[in-house]
Amino acid sequence: MLTLYRSGTGPWHRMPAGPKTLLLLLLVLGVSLLPASWPAAAIAAAVCLACYVVPGVGFRELGRQVWGLRWLVVVAFGIPCIFLGVEAATVGTVRIVVAVVLAGLLSLTTPVAALLDVVERALRPLRVIGVDATRVALLLVVALGTVPTLTRLAREVRVAQRARGARGIRVFVVPFVVLALRHADDLGDALSARGVR
C-alpha cells in the first residue's frame, strides 16, 4: 500500500511517534487559534518554516506539500477575498495552509506501523468503556489490506461490463458491492479460522 511516508533519519523521523503526535497537535491547535492579523500570519509562517528547515524534511518537501494544496489555496483565498477583502483572505489562507502542512509532518515522517501502535496505545485506556484497542488496530490493518483486492475487483467488474457494452456508475456499483460483500464473508471466515474471536 502506498503511504505518504518519506523515509529519512532527521530529528522528526527519530522522535517517538506518540510525543510527536502530541507536539504537532499542540502546534496546529495554536496556529488555528491565532487572530486574523498580519503579525499572526507571520508567526504561523515562521513556525512552519522552522519545522520544515529541520534536516530530513527541508523546503523542497514543504514546496511539494504546498503545491498539493494549490486548489485549497485558490478556494481558501478566493471566497473570503470576495466577501472579506485581501488582508483577511491572505492571513486566513496562510493560517489554513500552515495548519494542514504542519499536521502533514506526522504522516510524512512516521511509518504507518508506528502510528498504528500510537492508535493502539491511545485507545488502551478506553477499555473501561468497552473499546478493545487490539481489535481496533486489527480492524485498521485488515481494512488497509482490502484496498488492493478491491481495486482489482473494480477492474474486473469494469472489464466484464465493457465486454457486455454496459456503462454507468449504477451498473458498476451493484456488482462491485456484491463482490465486496462476498470478499468480506471470506475474510470473516479467515479471521475466525486464525483465532480472532
Binding site: V73, I96, L108, V131, L140, V174, V178, A180, L187, L191
Partner: protein
C-alpha cells in the same frame, strides 16, 4: 474514533473493513474527477451505501475506520489525499459529517429492521448522506476559513446537483441489491424472512 461497542463478530468486522476499502476505492484517482478545494467525489456515494447496506453500527465502524486510516497518513481520500492535515483543513467538517451521516442513513433505511423500500431509502440517503453531511461540513468550513455561514452555504451549492444524483444512484443500487442479492442485508431484515421462495414461473 472507532466505536466497538456493541461487540462485533468477525463477519461484521470484515464487512466494516471491506466497506472502508470500498469507499477508498471509489475515490481513487482516475475513477472519478476532482476539482475545487473540496472535491466532488463518489466517496459520498460509498458513505450512503455503507449506511444503507451495513446499518448504523457497522456502517459507522466502517466510516470511522476509513477516517482513522486517513488520519494516520494513508492517502485514501479523493485525489490521493490523506494525513492528519485534512482534519484541520476546510473539508474536516464533511468528514465528521460522513460519520454522523452514515448512522442517520442506517437508522432510517433499516428503521425497525424492515426491508428497505425505495422511498425510505431515498429519504435516508438524502437526510443522512446530504443534509447531515452539509450540516456538519458547512459550519466547520466557515469556521476554519473564517467566512460567514451564508457564504459557505452559497459556495456549497456547487455540490448539490452531484449529491442529488448520488442519492438517486444509491437508492437504485439498494433496490437492485434487495432484488438481486438480499443476503447483502442479512444482518437485518433478510435474517427474519424465509429465504428464496422457489422459482416463480417464466413469463
Amino acid at each position: 474514533m472507532t466505536p466497538s461497542t456493541p461487540r462485533l463478530d468477525t463477519t461484521d468486522l470484515a464487512r466494516a473493513a471491506v466497506f472502508a476499502g470500498l469507499i477508498a476505492v471509489l475515490g481513487l484517482p482516475g475513477s472519478f474527477s476532482v476539482f475545487g478545494g473540496v472535491p466532488i467525489t463518489a466517496q459520498t456515494l460509498g458513505v450512503m451505501l455503507a449506511g444503507a447496506v451495513l446499518g448504523p453500527v457497522v456502517g459507522a465502524v466502517s466510516v470511522g475506520t476509513l477516517l482513522a486510516l486517513v488520519a494516520i497518513g494513508l492517502p485514501l481520500l479523493a485525489g490521493g489525499r490523506g494525513g492528519a492535515g485534512v482534519f484541520v483543513g476546510p473539508t474536516a467538517g464533511y468528514l465528521i459529517g460522513w460519520l454522523v451521516g452514515v448512522v442517520v442513513v442506517g437508522l432510517i433505511v433499516h428503521l425497525g429492521g424492515r426491508r428497505p423500500v425505495w422511498w425510505r431509502t431515498f429519504a435516508g440517503v438524502l437526510l443522512g448522506g446530504v443534509v447531515v453531511v452539509y450540516a456538519c461540513g458547512i459550519p466547520l468550513q466557515s469556521l476554519i476559513m473564517r467566512i460567514g455561514v451564508e457564504q459557505a452555504l452559497v459556495a456549497n451549492l456547487a455540490f448539490l446537483p452531484g449529491d442529488l444524483v448520488k442519492a438517486v444512484i444509491a437508492t437504485v443500487v439498494v433496490g437492485a441489491l434487495v432484488r438481486g442479492y438480499p443476503r447483502a442485508f442479512r444482518r437485518t431484515w433478510a435474517r427474519r424472512i424465509p429465504p428464496a421462495r422457489e422459482a416463480a414461473s417464466v413469463r
